[in-house]
């Protein structure tokens, strides 16, 4: 059931209930009042009659009273009010009626209840289908005076009032119900808006937002909804981006896997199906070997990348110079083949990171530089201490990279010159791996190059922001000032 209907069905009965209680109470009260008034009036009439009767009878002597008929005596002081039905009656102690102006008689038992102290009483009774109040008093002469007065008017009035009240309640109920229903519909309209928006959102319309300009709870709920929708949308876009990247990676990976496989399967198939000359067989075998190697490189690089991606790195202090010299040592043999000189020049300073990953990073960068370099050229690896970190630059004199290619070189499987990269045994994953390592260390890097002008890769490692590190940095700086800024060591790999 809708909330507005619930509100309606709860509020309206409560309203009607209160209205009924209150109305009934008022009406009952007014009835009682009128009744009391009528009784009072009847008493007064009775009392007046009694006084007049006693006065008249006292004024006359016994004989005079005997001579005078009681009717005449009463007529001298009492005249019946014609407008109202009722009666006045006098009877003696034995119950003999002495006087009555009217034959109307209402049965009552007041006489039995009268005592010495209480010589007047009343009762309400029925006669001739009317309601009457009967007042009976004992006069000082020992006889009884009975006054009867119709109070049907009061009851009729009451009935009329009650009927009017019922009609009023009905009308009011309908009116109030309508108003309550309208109001609750109005109040829950925003809620419906919100629920509609939620449904739309759930059905995939992620741009849906709720516009509710009220400051109540629903308004706040709408704000919360919008906030949640924004957050969800952001998250979803991020997830979609991730999925997209993952798909691209998978597609590129499948391509990279299938290309060497095609050669391996194809050449092997050729060898086993055909009788080939020695040269042809050698050529096929060579292709199979080299493409197999390519697959091996691919799988190693991929493994490294997965490892780098999963690792929770433990960052330790590493002496920058030591690290770079080790890189030079490891890369030495490959560089010697092409007679490339490697110069390492590093200022005193610390790196905070994982030694193996950083080795891998700089070995990759130096290896890239080697691949891009001509025979007999040079590669420079420079380390500089910065006020908030340590900066390492790997620069070569190689063929460089066009500006439009620079943005894409960190993509997995992206190769600027595919055929050359293949010859050098590249899988197109080196810089993608480096990117991961750089990210893991919260470092930043940039590439500067012009075609034919060589490539300069600069990696900036930030010192961890911890007060405890400060003295170390200060000490380093002092040491640096003492030694002079150019104090670095030169090292040739060749």
């Amino acid at each position: 059931m809708r909330l507005s209907w619930k509100l309606f069905f709860i509020t309206t009965p409560i309203f009607v209930l209160f209205l009924t209680f209150f109305g009934t109470w008022i009406i009952q009260d007014s009835l009682q009042n009128s009744l009391d008034q009528e009784i009072e009036r009847c008493m007064l009439e009775n009392q007046t009659f009694q006084s007049s009767y006693e006065l008249t009878r006292n004024a006359l002597s016994g004989e005079q009273w005997e001579q005078l008929t009681i009717d005449k005596a009463v007529a001298s002081f009492y005249r019946r009010d014609v407008g109202r039905s009722g009666s006045m009656r006098i009877y003696d102690a034995r119950g003999e009626v002495l006087y009555q102006d009217n034959a109307l008689r209402v049965e009552h038992e007041i006489r039995e209840q009268l005592t010495e102290e209480q010589n007047v009483g009343y009762e309400i009774g029925q006669a001739q289908e009317q309601t009457f109040v009967v007042v009976l008093c004992r006069s000082s002469f020992g006889d009884y005076i009975e006054t009867t007065r119709s109070i049907s008017g009061v009851y009729e009035k009451w009935d009329e009032l009650y009927a009017r009240y019922r009609a009023g309640v009905l009308l009011l109920t309908v009116l109030a119900g309508g108003v309550i229903l309208g109001l609750s519909f109005f109040m829950t309209r925003n809620m419906q808006k919100l629920s509609r928006a939620t449904r739309q959102f759930a059905q995939g319309q992620y741009d849906v937002r709720v516009k509710i300009d009220s400051r109540d709870e629903i308004g706040r709920l709408a704000d919360d909804f919008n906030w949640m929708a924004d957050a969800m949308k952001r998250q979803m876009e991020q997830l979609q981006g991730d999925v997209h990247r993952q798909e691209e990676f998978t597609a590129a990976f499948a391509h990279e896997l299938k290309t060497p496989l095609t050669s391996i399967i194809g050449y092997a198939d050729t060898i086993r199906q055909m009788e080939l000359s020695k040269e042809e067989t050698d050529m096929c075998a060579d292709y199979i070997y080299r493409q197999g190697k390519r697959l091996q490189t691919l799988s190693y690089k991929l493994l490294e990348m997965t490892m780098a991606g999963k690792q929770e790195i433990v960052r330790r202090e590493i002496l920058a110079r030591e690290l770079l010299e080790e890189v030079a040592q490891v890369a030495g043999a490959a560089l010697q083949e092409k007679q490339i000189s490697l110069y390492v020049q590093a200022e005193e300073g610390m790196l905070f990171g994982d030694r193996d990953l950083l080795m891998s990073l700089f070995l990759n960068l130096v290896d890239n530089a080697r691949k891009a370099s001509e025979q007999g050229s040079s590669i420079w690896v420079t380390g500089q201490a910065q006020y908030d970190g340590y900066q390492i630059t790997v620069a070569d004199e190689g063929r460089g990279i066009a500006p439009e290619e620079l943005a894409r070189i960190t993509e997995a499987f992206y190769m600027v010159d595919k055929s050359r990269a293949r010859k050098e045994g590249g899988a197109g994953l080196g810089l993608a791996l480096c990117q991961k390592i750089v990210d893991l260390h919260q470092a930043v890097w940039r590439f500067e190059s012009e075609p034919g002008q060589g490539l300069r890769v600069t990696v900036l490692f930030y010192n961890p922001v911890r007060p405890a590190r400060r003295p170390v940095r200060l000490r380093e700086r002092e040491e640096r000032q003492r030694r002079g800024r150019t104090a670095g060591r030169r090292r040739e790999a060749v």
Binding site: A251, A254, H255, K258, T259, P260, L261, T262, S263, I264, I265, G266, Y267, D269, T270, R272, Q273, M274, E275, E280, M283, Y287, R290, Q291, K418, S419, R422
Partner: protein, 217 residues
């Protein structure tokens, strides 16, 4: 002689195709990127183009559109398992596609099929005293028609296309019957025996131990 243009930027794959098509009697030329391919198509007539999709400079689809203007049938090579790519290539007017990695027999079969569709191959094939008419699918020997079943006929064509080449039982099965070869059935042997008997090729189709058969001529 039938001339085929191989457009493939991976040198090992390009050489592999050239080597095998060359041995099958086709004349091949290699273009290593899209622009070189377009130049070659513009300058020289080709009977068929084998086209890689992922190419430097111009991609395969662009080369395909260009090739359509000179009415050369195109078979494209793709490393992507993506159905959409295949559909896109076929919609653009390629005759067929070959998914990498492929087997040599499959490559030859598809090349042959497309060439036959374009009537680039000879309709009359000859093997010793056997004449084969690929239009009417009839085989005659010394003027007498020989009745061959469909499978036997396709088997004969397969041997003809792969002269002096060892055909593995699985290769034969996959090309003639289609589907995966389970390695145990005698279907292939049975049909080869019947074909040999019907055409008197007992001396020319030789069994190779543990491998399959080879047509020697």
């Amino acid at each position: 002689m039938i001339k085929i243009l191989i457009v493939e930027d991976e040198e090992p794959i390009a050489n592999l195709i050239r080597m095998n098509l060359g041995k099958a009697g086709y004349q091949c030329e290699i273009a290593a990127d899209g622009e070189a391919a377009a130049d070659a198509i513009a300058e020289r007539p080709f009977d068929l183009i084998l086209l890689d999709i992922m190419l430097p400079k111009l991609n395969g689809y662009e080369v395909l559109e260009y090739a359509k203007t000179v009415d050369v049938p195109v078979i494209f090579l793709t490393a992507m398992g993506d159905t959409q790519q295949k559909v896109k290539g076929l919609k653009l007017g390629a005759e067929d596609y070959i998914a990498k990695p492929f087997e040599i027999a499959e490559l030859l079969a598809r090349v042959e099929t497309v060439l036959r569709r374009y009537r680039k191959t000879e309709r009359q094939l000859r093997l010793f005293d056997i004449e084969i008419d690929t239009d009417s699918r009839t085989v005659t020997q010394k003027g007498h028609q020989v009745d061959l079943t469909t499978k036997e006929y396709e088997l004969l064509l397969l041997f003809l296309r792969n002269k002096n080449r060892a055909l593995y039982r699985e290769t034969i099965y996959e090309n003639v019957w289609g589907g995966e070869y389970n390695g145990t059935g005698r279907t292939v042997d049975l049909h080869v025996q019947r074909l040999k008997k019907k055409l008197g090729l007992e001396e020319h189709i030789v069994a190779i131990y543990k491998v399959g058969y080879r047509l020697e001529c």
